[in-house]
Amino acid sequence: MRFNLNLKECEVTSRALWASRRDFLRQTMTAGLGGWIAAPLAAKAGSLGAKPNPAFRVSDPTTPLEKVTTYNNFYEFGTSKEDPAQQATDFKVRPWKVVVEGEVNKPQTFDLDDILKLAPLEERIYRLRCVEAWSMVIPWIGFPLKELLNRVDPRGNAKFVELISLMDPDQMPGQKNAVLDWPYREGLRLDEAMHPLTLLTVGLYGDVLPNQNGAPVRIVIPWKYGFKSVKSIVRIRLTETMPVTSWMKAGPSEYGFYANVNPAVDHPRWSQAKERRIGDFLKRPTLPFNGYADQVASLYSGMDLTKNF
């Protein structure tokens, strides 16, 4: 048998193409079954057809896609920043269902395609500020969570919204490590969940969410620390009592329920006054509510934000 050792680097299959080989096989195999199966798969390769919403666009320059997709905190796939991009390549995002239950009059289960059609998809450019004091600016695609919540008709006693991520240690090897209490849980007050800024997110940079960014559906709450923007959501539960989130459990003195970005309230171990915008050399001052104060500060009037961190 002869080996050709003269392969050139330009002949190497691009990683993106190699990673999507299974999609390609799936697509070609199901082509015969008609467009209604092929269409959602084809959507993975193309644009989501989202319309930019100028009311929700910060003027900061956006963070390059390469950095957005290779620097992630997604402990389900490992605790280092490079782990999720490397470990989540085979993560299955279809079939995907989001169960909405709890204090609602119309509990229901949404298929991913139901969610994609629930409301017009918008492109919004948001700042995202991690509690570790770094930040990015990302063009997300989604629609306000309140569109989905209105569909299920929350009852009068619904005061909080709990958001729960997937539990699947086989697909998410990081869950074999008890670094956090799995599955990942987050929560919002109902008024925070109903706020127009709170985005039920299905894509970024024009395309569906990469696995490491929380595919296929996540939440983005731009005025709070990034750990509140839970990824790969499978369950939304409306409750009467405040949910205990995964990070509250992991470090009650360090991670609170509200987790509003606040330069005046330091993390017990490090300062929150400044942040490093990924791509910048110098640090920049952190803005109250991550620069969204005029839109959300009123939600917290009268609250002691040092106590309710």
Binding site: E66, K67, T70, Y71, Y75, T79, K81, E82, E132, W134, V179, L180, A250, G251, R269, W270, S271, K274, R276, I278, G279, F281, L282, K283
Partner: protein, 227 residues
């Protein structure tokens, strides 16, 4: 001269040693060169990756972590020399201890410079605040301060000037520096303490073996000034 250094301690007179064991000495020098070159690899890789923009999305964080990691690693390696030497009986490895310790100092200087220049960019008010208000930086900076006199007094000349007893007393502070370094790392990680615990174990073992050695009260080679 033997009286100044106390029982069992001999000053390093290279020419005498070279006369006695030429072949062994050449091997030692060879090893020292090898260790020197290997010890520079982490910094070289960092510079290379920096030049190739291969330090990831947050290069400053990567540099800080990397230089800190190698500071702790060289500190641990240095702390393991004496226990290993006693356990194996290979007295020659003591000859590498100074170089290994100085590389720990080399990387702590790089680590501190990265913090000063890359992370803070000479923001002195903020640096002072960090050192006084952030416990993990307080202990980290303290560990750095301890290593400075140890590096300065690492030369043969300094050993002679201080004398064996005072030199040893001063250099015992390396234990505190090692401990402070581990605590610094433990206190700065968000949640995953895997790496800090490995260093904590390495440090604890090095200390426990020393305690056991002392309890056995054997005439131990550690009384000889290492080179």
């Amino acid at each position: 001269m033997t009286q100044r250094f106390g029982h069992g301690m001999e000053p390093n007179i290279p020419s005498a040693r070279q006369r006695q064991q030429p072949k062994a000495n050449r091997a030692i020098v060879g090893f020292k060169i090898l260790i020197f070159v290997l010890a520079l690899v982490p910094m070289t890789r960092l510079l290379m990756n920096g030049y190739l923009d291969a330090l990831g999305a947050n290069p400053v964080e990567k540099i800080l972590h990397n230089t800190g990691f190698w500071t702790l690693s060289f500190l641990m390696i240095t702390l393991w020399v004496t226990p290993l030497r006693s356990v194996t009986g290979w007295t020659f490895i003591g000859r590498f201890r100074r170089m290994l310790g100085l590389f720990a100092f080399f990387y702590v200087v790089l680590h501190f410079l990265s913090y000063l220049v890359l992370d803070q960019f000479f923001d002195w008010p903020n640096i002072l605040k960090d050192i006084s208000k952030r416990p993990y930086i307080t202990v980290g900076f303290s560990a750095f301060l301890i290593l400075i006199p140890l590096a300065v007094t690492s030369t043969d000349g300094m050993m002679r000037r201080l004398g064996g007893k005072r030199w040893r007393g001063l250099h015992r502070w390396v234990y505190l520096a090692g401990f402070a370094g581990v605590v610094h790392f433990w206190w700065l990680v968000k949640k995953d303490i895997t790496e800090p615990s490995l260093f904590a174990i390495a440090f604890s073992v090095a200390m426990i073996v020393r305690v056991l050695m002392k309890l056995r009260k054997r005439p131990s080679p550690s009384l000889i000034i290492p080179h």
